[in-house]
């Protein structure tokens, strides 16, 4: 069954299992261009696996991923990234023994002015004081921020963020949220963000996708999703 191309990214009938575990199960979902979409779901429902499948770090057992109408299934991760699809990791994976500046310079930037981009993103995440420090010496939350800045260097059209708020202090959470909002309105970027900070996600996102057992349970506006009985019971624990 083929779905028509709808959003900037279309995941079609995607499945992936590990041993006996079906981590992603016939998942079909799409994200509208220039939206901020949230993805929530219980622990182990397949969110990170979906990100890994989209960005080419894992290969699906079946199904496909289309980015702006192009089938990118089976592409190498770096090609996907250069196509305009950036991501962060659930646990920050910065280059420990490189300085913050070097971390950012490493990125395959489409931007001509690398220096300017470095300055811009470093100061955005308020890490310019650490510019010449090794990334490995940052605190846990600071590493999350650096991870986001590094992804932004890629200037991606679609940004996948895996729990960017986890472990980040509330002030910065708001700043990041504001940034995402600006990226969308000013630069026309699309954001897909996974997080368990339900309040933050709800106020930030246009729509929420709820993943349960590897497939999409529903997709709707946050207020609707939060009132859904299944979500209340199995996710929010209310």
């Amino acid at each position: 069954m083929h779905t028509r191309h709808m959003g900037i990214i279309d995941v079609v009938d995607l499945s992936r299992s590990f041993g006996g575990q079906q981590a992603v199960d016939d998942l079909t979902m799409s994200v509208d261009s220039e939206s901020i979409t949230g993805m929530i779901g219980p622990n182990g429902s397949g969110k990170t696996t979906t990100f890994n499948l989209i960005t080419g770090l894992l290969q699906p057992d079946s199904g496909r991923v289309e980015f702006r109408g192009t089938d990118i299934t089976g592409w190498k991760p770096y090609r996907i990234a250069n196509e305009g699809l950036g991501r962060t990791f659930q646990q920050a994976r910065v280059f420990d023994e490189m300085t913050l500046e070097e971390n950012l310079r490493t990125v395959e930037t489409p931007d001509d002015d690398v220096d300017e981009a470095v300055d811009r993103w470093l100061s955005f995440v308020e890490l310019d004081d650490h510019r010449h420090h090794y990334a490995g010496n940052l605190s846990g939350g600071q590493q999350v921020l650096l991870g986001i800045a590094r992804t932004l260097m890629l200037d991606p059209d679609l940004i996948l963020l895996d729990e960017p708020f986890a472990g980040v202090n509330p002030g910065l959470v708001d700043d990041i949220a504001a940034l995402l909002e600006r990226l969308r309105t000013e630069e026309g970027k699309t954001v897909l963000v996974v997080d368990h900070e339900i309040d933050e996600i709800s106020s930030l996102c246009d729509e929420l996708v709820v993943l349960v057992d590897g497939h999409q349970l529903l997709k709707d506006e946050p207020s609707v999703v939060r009132e859904d009985d299944r979500v209340r019971e199995s996710y929010l624990g209310l």
Binding site: N52, L57, Q90, A92, R93
Partner: protein, 293 residues
């Protein structure tokens, strides 16, 4: 023309060689499994065991197999101390540092042997008589050292799977700081592991000495063989090392018979590249992906 006696003879010979290879490889697999340290000094430690036996035999007149009573505690102590004094400092650092550090230890051991025992290969007139089993001729010394190999391997498995010390050893390897936070004295566990690894090497050295003879740099060849064994078995997998030792011992014997020793070695060394291509983590190793960060 397939001659059954030949096949059986080769098989017997291969299995006994495998027994020795088990001894000379297992300690390295253990140390790697626990500390992710590839112990280049292992080759020197094997020879150290052999030289202890040699010294006891020539100077004191101790029977070589009985000498294990000294070799085992002595080598354990050597390993335990080496871990505290040297290797502990590079645990958790980049691989290269532990490789180089243990390489330095290997050079020191080798040169010490050279100065103390001279460069000659020494052998021992011991259990040289043959035994006839079903018209296959075997030499008693090979039976003895191969036998020691299989027995010691059995004991090691029992130790690692049954004892909580065995589990603590594994835990320490995976997350040393967390092991501490679980009440495990990680440095002590590592020292014990290195001690056990060294005593295995030492027993291997005794067995090798009884069978074939030792020399200051004689451990290098065994080091390479140990690499072949543990990469084939899957690094860090003790079970893998055991199985791979059997495969390699038997393969080498047959390949030498049919194709000569260089071709046997060529296939063993280059073959490992092919194995890694097909099964990057050997027969029993586990991949290291970090998809969850």
């Amino acid at each position: 023309m397939v001659d059954v006696t030949i096949i059986l003879s080769l098989l017997a010979s291969g299995l006994l060689l495998a027994g020795v290879y088990m001894l000379t490889s297992m300690g390295m697999a253990l140390v790697f499994g626990v500390m992710e340290v590839v112990n280049f000094a292992h080759g020197g430690l094997i020879m150290a065991g052999g030289y202890i036996t040699y010294w006891l035999f020539t100077e004191v007149g101790v029977d070589p197999i009985l000498s294990l009573v000294v070799v085992i505690p002595a080598m354990f102590a050597v390993g335990y101390a080496a871990q505290w004094v040297f290797v502990e400092h590079v645990v958790g650092e980049e691989d290269l540092y532990s490789l180089l550090l243990t390489f330095g230890l290997l050079l020191v051991l080798e040169s010490t042997f050279r100065v103390v025992f001279s460069t000659e290969t020494v052998t021992i007139p011991y259990l040289s008589q043959g035994v006839d089993v079903a018209s296959i001729g075997l030499s008693l010394k090979e039976v003895a050292s191969g036998g020691i190999g299989f027995v010691v391997t059995g004991v090691l498995f029992a130790f690692l799977s049954r004892s909580s010390l065995g589990q603590a050893i594994r835990a320490t390897s995976q997350a040393p700081d967390l092991a501490e936070a679980s009440g495990i004295n990680a440095p002590r566990i590592r020292a014990i592991t290195f001690g056990v690894g060294s005593l295995l090497a030492g027993i291997g050295g005794t067995a090798y000495f009884i069978s074939y003879g030792i020399s200051p740099i004689g451990g290098r060849h065994l080091l390479l063989i140990a690499f072949v064994v543990i990469v084939l078995g899957g690094m860090g997998s003790i079970k893998g090392a055991g199985v791979a030792a059997v495969l390699i011992g038997v393969f080498q014997t047959f390949a030498e018979y049919y194709a000569g020793s260089h071709r046997a070695l060529l296939v063993m060394y280059l073959g490992i590249a092919v194995v890694l291509l097909v099964r990057p983590h050997g027969l029993f190793g586990e991949p290291e992906d970090r998809l969850h960060g």
